[in-house]
């Protein structure tokens, strides 16, 4: 929708404004509630951005080796950057050499002589600034190349692959790129979100997906770059900054030139039982990294509809979009990089279900006109009847193009049976190509009847979202999650996985990466 286009839904600007106000208040509360803390994975992402990579003889990644040593010595409340910068000063070695020495038991970071505090701060800042500049340069080159090759008109077609073997993923990725896929995302092996480390090296075994490792990222990036060169069409890559290593994966993706990242803590909190505070802390830094380097983030509102009813839970999706939008902005992510989540999940037998879907999709576009939005296909009610799923996907594709979504995850006929096979994805993409082309300008031709089913539904959802947002603003997001506000799942502040990885910071905590990224986003 162009900025000057008139609202098709005739939304009440007062209600929209009330939603934004409440979301702003909620985001500020969150920022206050998680102030003064860091996590082991945030600290590991600092080591990664400083160039530390590799694993020790027991296959423990070096970022873990370094952070674990500092944590065991009780020094993590100063920030790992403090100890690394001191070690650089004291030993004259690079961060990678220091990490290798730690792994070899030749260096104890916290028992080195401590240099002058000011000198440490300066040194840390210099190292970080140089590294950010180096990564930024790679991104600038990539952006220029992407713009030179050009991309398809929106909605961009986001396709998942998930074979477990990175080399098979390359075959699938090439097939989907050939069939018109614009963004390829390798689904992670299902258990990875609960690992408090990122595995090292290329992997050929995984279930429900392939491990996100830096080597796998590189293999996929090289394959897609080769495709882009051959076909003179840029293919984007995406992965998942989620689970217990959100910010580390953001750091890895930044280095390997990923264009998009799923980046939402709430998914892990609700569906993987990751501690709320841990998730929100990791999310803040991972979004900062993605925001800083121009990576488009996808939020996960679509997932609520996999566990809650799509009609009843629609206001919670809209409310969450408002909150996620504010939280992303607080981490310095501009609107053009915030792809809020939404999904087409109303059960097939619902009369006028298509109209309700249309209302919801249009509502998301009108509320966040400058955000790309990531629109998800029907999954929950899709069963082994792949022909019915293919038909439902056609309607989904129609709503996607007619409401001008920025990114669409393509629907696949074998949804709900197994991880789709290579030809299932191609069939899904052919359906998309047909509908997008056949209805390319349909959205511009349509206006909705005043007070009709679609407008009324949109108004109801927005009113519901407002009530919910105002309630959450009163009680705070953390309590709202405890009361099962999203996805019918309840999580408490003092429970959940990864809680032991939260560290209260001391005076003089040092994290120049966060400082530099924050300065840049508010400059």
């Amino acid at each position: 929708m162009s900025a000057e286009a008139r609202s098709k839904l005739d939304l009440d600007p007062g209600v929209v404004n009330a939603c934004r106000q409440a979301a702003h208040q909620i985001a500020e509360q969150v920022t206050e509630q998680i102030a003064g803390m860091t996590t082991v994975s945030v600290e590991r992402s600092v080591t990664r951005l400083l160039g530390i990579d590799g694993a020790d003889e027991h296959e423990v990644p070096l970022p873990n080796v370094v952070v674990d040593q500092v944590q065991a010595a009780g020094g993590l409340d100063r920030g790992v950057a403090f100890w690394l910068a001191n070690a650089i000063i004291q030993t004259g070695r690079s961060p990678q050499q220091i990490a290798e020495a730690v792994a070899a038991d030749d260096l104890d970071l916290c028992s080195l002589q401590v240099a002058d505090e000011h000198q440490i701060r300066e040194r840390a800042r210099e190292e970080c600034a140089a590294r950010l500049a180096q990564i930024s340069e790679r991104f600038a080159e990539r952006r220029a190349w992407r713009e030179q090759l050009g991309e398809a008109p929106t909605p961009l077609r986001y396709v998942l692959t998930a074979t477990g073997n990175v080399y098979e993923d390359v075959v699938h990725a090439r097939a989907v790129a050939e069939a018109g896929g614009d963004i390829v995302a390798v689904i992670r092996s299902t258990a990875q979100s609960l690992l408090d480390y990122v595995p090292y090296g290329p992997t050929t075994e995984g279930y429900g997906g392939t491990f996100a490792t830096q080597a796998n990222f590189r293999i996929m990036r090289e394959a897609m770059d080769e495709f882009s060169r051959e076909h003179e069409r840029y293919v984007r890559l995406s992965s998942f900054c989620s689970g217990l290593c959100m910010s580390e994966i953001a750091a890895m993706g930044a280095w390997e030139g990923f264009d998009n990242m799923v980046n939402d803590a709430l998914y892990g909190i609700l569906y993987r039982d990751i501690n709320i505070v841990r998730g929100l802390l990791d999310q803040r830094v991972s979004r900062m990294i993605n925001g800083y380097f121009g990576v488009v983030i996808n939020t996960g509102e679509d997932n609520y509809l996999r566990t809650a009813d799509a009609i009843d839970a629609a206001p919670s999706v809209t409310a969450s979009q408002f909150i996620n939008h504010q939280l992303a902005r607080e981490s310095g992510v501009p609107d053009a990089q915030i792809a809020l989540g939404d999904a087409f999940e109303i059960d097939v037998p619902v009369t006028n279900g298509l109209l309700y879907e249309w209302a919801q999709a249009q509502l998301t576009r009108e509320l966040f006109p400058d955000c790309p939005v990531k629109y998800m296909p029907p999954t929950r009610h899709m069963d082994g009847n792949l022909f019915r799923t293919h038909a439902a996907d056609s309607l989904f594709n129609l709503v996607t193009v007619a409401t001008g979504q920025g990114i669409q995850t393509i629907g696949v006929p074998t949804e709900g049976i197994f991880t789709p096979h290579i030809h299932d994805r191609v069939l899904g993409l052919q359906n998309v190509a047909y509908v997008f082309n056949a209805a390319r300008d349909l959205g511009d031709e349509i206006e909705f009847r005043r007070g009709g089913i679609i407008q009324t539904r949109a108004h109801e959802v927005l009113a519901g979202a407002r009530a919910l947002l105002e309630r959450i603003a009163d009680e705070g997001l953390i309590d709202a999650i405890a009361q099962a506000t999203f996805g019918d799942v309840s999580r408490r502040r003092d429970e959940g996985r990864g809680i032991e990885g939260i560290v209260t910071v001391a005076d003089g905590y040092l994290n120049p990466l966060v400082d530099l990224m924050r300065e840049a986003s508010y400059a």
Binding site: E178, T190, A191, L194
Partner: protein
Amino acid sequence: MPEREVDLTRVRPYADHLGDGLVQMSFTLPVPYSLAARRAALELASAMGFEEPEVVHYEQLTPGYTYFVMYVRCAATVDFASLQEEGFDIEYLSEDEIETFAAEHVRRPIVVVGASTGSDTHSVGIDAMLNLKGYHGHHGLEGYRAFETYNLGSQVPNAALLAKAIEVGADAILVSQTVTQQNLHVQNLTELVEMVEAEGRRREVILACGGPRVTNELAKELGYDAGFSKGTYPHHLASFIVRELAARAAVPR
């Protein structure tokens, strides 16, 4: 030749007229798109035992991979009549009938513990069976007076599921496997049976599994009491559990 009446001892697929045996199939071969590829698909169908194979559509997915849609004629037949006699078809009870049946024959709350186990992140199957909301207007077991349910959600290790079952004295353990790859669900399901047996509790507890790749036959082969596939509603599962419990109560252990 078309037959006039269905011979239930010799059944073959039906498409347009009785006895035509037509089967639709699709697959990908890892070969370059070419006339030779088409020929390969036809020969492969013949090797599968199909007659008169026809390729109605084929295309390149990516260089070196060709996708086919085929129609083939199946000459083989199956004896449906004797299968019908083996009692595969259960008559399901309604929600009310289940409550009444349980009140008469079991006379205590039936404790059911369920989870989506292993690395499977999908709770949709177990939620549909256990949660009050259920599926397509059919309440899950939580909504029955007869059942006391514990839904542990997704990504639950088999050990945790079993521990909970022991803790609450479960009458039945339900395992859901929604999205799996490379037959991981089989390993996962097998592991649970082995653990239950190792604990010496196999005879006391009803073990049931469900999911799109699960069949009753597979479940029994793996050592489960029953398996539930796509299209299962909570009252199907509940019918099985109450009847099985009643039957077990009638036979002293």
